[in-house]
Symmetry: C2
Subunit: 477 residues, 2 copies
């Protein structure tokens, strides 16, 4: 049974970590106790900010000995409240942000070792400085950290070609719930010495230990890139276009955007404008890399237009325009947030099933919930869209969501499960989706997950109440 | 505590499985009770051969209820005794060979679903029939099965470009130690619903459950391939050549072969001849795919020769010659076996460190053990070689190995660990390497592995005495 931290424990931690590494100041802690989406407001007895791996170990050892819960946190950009403590204030928030060194970059091995607190932007810059690149990116790159990206198996807009974090982590170092350090940084391409414990921590949301560093795979720098904006009739046409491009070109991104999402961005994000003149129900943002990418992409799009697969297309004429196209995609979430609350779903189905799913599930949802409007956008080539539902009348959107949101979410998730899909493609489970995971998950998989959690974290101190059903927080006094 | 199967249990199993699925006939069982390398001779109370997944489930449920150990087996081509029971005869051997259907092939999704007992050759053929290919191959492809390949995270000669089984499995179905079926076949490119239990079974050597089917990723068929045989001075030159080719060509295989290994093949394998006229200390077999692969490879090799990186090279003039080159590589193990016993090691170190490791470790081993001769060959681009050591005097090789083999192995493994490497790159642990894993393994990782094993297989019925230290077999009577 978990317990609140005693004054004696807090004193020990303060003495060990010093003023930079320990605070109970409510104003300093406050921004880190609310999640990015503003859905959760947590409390913590103290904010711990270790600057070295041995400090992380000492924290975990002390808290394990005292049955005190720890909530690890990186850039605090979780979409599912994964890094926000509950409201009781009996957990300790552990920020990894001071553990932020890039330990090494090897251009020969195409590897970069970064500590948990290094931001994605820092990793991008270090890779570029070595003449290479780290091929994962997402909107929150300035705040999202390596530890959080690993612990959530982050995706983003380049998964199509390079995979999620799970594909990009060559090795990792972590502090286990015992306080022991797991040294899995050696980047061995082949290692068959049994269960890959280090890899199990990828996507574990801090429930099996605290990731302290990762060896990340780098790829050759992009010599040139071509970015196109395409207008087309429906998601089926978008999939047909993707199939034509696959194998013909190095497609790094293929993002589907409905007219409704573009309209939200144009309304709410300053300095944005539509890339195409005409009106189209659906859009696709494509990025292709390689020295001949622009010519190739122009040629393929011309043929696709001649064949009637797409309606219109334009290539970014320069880097500034390419960035402007990407801004339209990257600010959809922000524009949605400004526009008002919505029931958001991050779902995947098998790739080939996605066009039909988008069309049918949107129709079913809008039929079932009168006045509701679906905006589904995102990573078509990964079989992953963000399927967001809002009430039509903006004034009542908040109330509609409070009254109906949970029912909408169950309805959407049931449609996803009927396709053999996932209710969390890339955002994780955190606390937001825990009940839905319990409701929809395969009981055999859930039972195994719970058994693994209990085996590796028998005291239940690591990020309780997140990801794993049946590990709810019980705090004794 | 495990127990021998009772007559009542054997009767139940026989009644359920019928004559095709149940035998106690010693002659029928015999070939499956010795491992491929002939190092282990096991015993089993019965050979169970289920033909359906529900039969596998029923077997596991019955054995779990009776605390009877199960040893799953595919093609019986383990290099480490991973599918051979101990000699007590208290385990039941479960052959998956009758569960051999290819359930589906989708060219659109580039996916093939095969049952555990389908051989690698069957998978290759089914992929080719769909106009695609499955990019993993190894010498035992005619007998090795999908279940075994998954459970050992098999590698082979195309890992360089396509990865091991872990990269090629899109989903899998398994029977857990409880008898429950884990349905993880849906091939979702993104799924962040917690610990990936299905993936944990990849490389678990049947210790966490029995894999019954896998969804495998296919890749485009090879339009054309170019196969070259290169003579060069040392492993450093080989690595320099690999670095030149990477990024320039689609290198599928890059296999390092010392003159000593080639000589063994030419001596012991009928119908083989050396591809190059002159004598070279080291050789490399390269395969590049793509429509312009032959021209490209010829050009790159010419430049490398002009720059003094390589001494000589020849491209296979046709498919027959390409096959002949590959035969030289694929029969090294067989030639070695004919030549007599050796202390064999399947090791990996970080890729960049491999040339130096091969040279230094061979010198150190030959210095330490007078008369010993190292043959190190294999997957240079994966940082993985087979590092085999034999005594010089052929007549006494068997005795030398019995007297000195274990010491040689400890010596070689210590050199590997000093480089941060792995004592099992691709062959697994099985029973052969269990003591060495316990001696050399990271205690933190081992403790976590043992905890996971106990959590998912609390009765310890799944392939006991393999892979996981501390799960040795204790059978009560």
């Amino acid at each position: 049974m978990l317990r609140p931290p005693s004054d004696a424990l807090l004193g020990q931690l303060e003495a060990m970590l010093g003023p930079k590494g320990f605070t109970r100041d409510v104003e300093i802690m406050s921004p880190w106790l609310t999640d990015w989406r503003g859905r959760y407001r947590g409390a913590s007895a103290a904010l711990l900010s270790p600057a070295r791996v041995d400090e992380v170990q000492a924290i975990v050892r002390l808290c394990a000995a005292n049955d005190v819960a720890l909530v690890p946190q990186g850039g605090n950009s979780s979409m599912v409240g994964g890094a926000t403590p509950d409201g009781e204030g009996t957990s300790l928030l552990v920020s990894l942000r001071r553990l932020d060194r890039v330990r090494s970059v090897s251009a020969d091995d195409k590897l970069l070792v970064a500590e948990a607190g290094a931001t994605l932007s820092t990793v991008h810059d270090a890779a570029v400085a070595a003449g290479l690149r780290f091929p994962l990116s997402l909107g929150a790159k300035g705040s999202a950290t390596v530890g959080g990206l690993v612990s959530t198996n982050a995706g983003g807009t380049q998964v199509l070609r390079h995979g999620t974090m799970r594909s990009l982590v060559a090795g990792l170092e972590a502090v286990m719930p015992s306080g022991d350090r797991l040294d899995g940084l050696a980047a061995l391409k082949k290692d068959n010495r049994g269960y890959d414990v280090a890899r199990l921590l990828i996507g574990a949301e801090g429930t099996l230990g605290i990731v302290t560093a990762a060896a990340l795979r780098l790829v050759p720098a992009v010599g040139a890139r071509a970015v196109a904006w395409v207008g087309l009739e429906n998601p089926h046409a978008a999939m047909a276009l993707l199939r034509r491009l696959e194998g013909e070109a190095a497609v790094e991104s293929f993002e589907l955007i409905p007219a409704t999402a573009l309209a939200l961005v144009l309304t709410h994000i300053p300095g944005t404008r539509a890339p195409l003149g005409g009106e189209h129900d659906w859009h696709v943002l494509i990025e292709v890399v390689g020295s001949r990418s622009a010519d190739e992409l122009r040629e393929h799009l011309a043929i696709a237009a001649a064949d009637g697969v797409i309606a219109d297309a334009t290539l970014a004429a320069n880097e500034a325009q390419a960035e402007a196209f990407w801004k339209l995609r990257d600010t959809i979430s922000e524009a949605e947030r400004i526009a008002g609350p919505a029931a958001k779903h991050d779902v995947s189905v098998p790739v080939a099933a996605m066009p039909r799913f988008i069309v049918d599930a949107a129709a079913a949802t809008e039929t079932r919930f009168a006045g509701a409007r679906v905006i589904a956008f995102g990573h078509l080539g990964d079989g992953n869209v963000h399927f967001n539902v809002r009430g039509l009348a903006d004034a009542d959107a908040g109330r509609w969501l409070r009254d109906t949101g949970a029912e909408v979410t169950r309805f959407v998730h049931d449609l996803v499960m009927a396709e053999g899909g996932s209710i969390s493609a890339e955002h994780g489970i955190g606390q937001l989706k825990l009940a839905e995971l319990e409701r929809t998950g395969d009981p055999v998989r859930l039972a195994a997950q719970i058994a693994i959690k209990r085996a590796l974290d028998p005291r239940g101190i690591m990020n309780p109440g997140k990801l794993v059903p049946g590990t709810s927080i019980v705090v004794g006094l």
